[in-house]
Amino acid sequence: MITNLELVPGKRISKHLGLVQGSTVRSKHVGRDIMAGLKNIFGGELKGYTELLQDAREEAIARMTEQASSIGANAVLNVRFSTSSITSGAAELFAYGSAVVME
């Protein structure tokens, strides 16, 4: 279970296992870049980027979940997301949370 609450109602935390994290760095391909260039003139939503970032975020969550289950947790609490653009062509997506064992 993954949640961004600090406490889950009706569940008791039996053990804290520390911070878990997952990150991924993605860049877009040239076709999307050209579209983005055009959209920078006309304005509007960049659907390609929206999807790309959503996929990347899911990947980051998956990595975080993997790490959590490898240390024996069954839930991640207080999940936060963070995005940073490293260069103009790539973005890093980062998800982190607190791994716990819940009954």
């Binding site: 509007g44 970032l53 995005t83």
Partner: protein, 166 residues
């Protein structure tokens, strides 16, 4: 000479399409905000008592990347000289945030959630053009959706439980 013509064309195109996109987007945002009015977002650290048990929780998120148009960027560039409110970017960010919330609500609604708790925003400029002008921003909204466990069908259809008077 050619440069000036290109520049003016881009400015006109940016103004025309940008305004059109923005007006259309705001119309759709207002319409959907009305439609999702009943799905509450509660922003407290303590979980309200009606949701304290017999509920499933899951993470929902919504994101959107919106680009600024050429005209707005030019106006913002001018504004940088004198300082003050940069209204073109204000509407851009407002649109992005509201759209992200709406997408999160759509996702929550699709799985039948009753309420969303502890929503957080995240904002990031992902495309920096030449001269480091901000080209587009990403808005992300995420929270925990609460879903009532499907164990009480008598609330929705009490008909078959009523005793038949004879």
């Amino acid at each position: 000479m050619f440069d000036i013509i290109t520049f003016l064309t881009l400015l006109a195109l940016g103004y025309g399409f940008g305004q059109w996109f923005e007006r259309r987007h705001y119309r759709s945002i207002r319409k959907r905000e009305q439609a999702f009015k009943d799905l509450l977002i509660i922003q407290t650290r303590i979980i309200p008592s009606p949701f304290s048990s017999d509920h499933e929780t899951f993470l929902v998120n919504g994101n959107v990347v919106i680009s600024v148009d050429y005209f707005k960027r030019f106006v913002a560039g001018l504004r940088n000289l004198v300082g003050g409110r940069v209204t073109p970017y204000e509407t851009l960010i407002d649109r992005a945030r509201r759209e992200a919330i709406l997408r999160m609500k759509e996702e929550a609604k699709a799985s039948g959630a009753e309420v969303i708790l502890n929503v957080k925003y995240e904002m990031c400029s992902i495309y920096k053009g030449r001269r480091n002008n901000i080209g587009s921003v990403e808005a992300l909204a995420y929270g925990t959706a609460f879903l009532r466990k499907k164990t009480a069908p008598e609330e929705t259809d009490p008909g078959y439980l009523k005793p038949t008077a004879r």
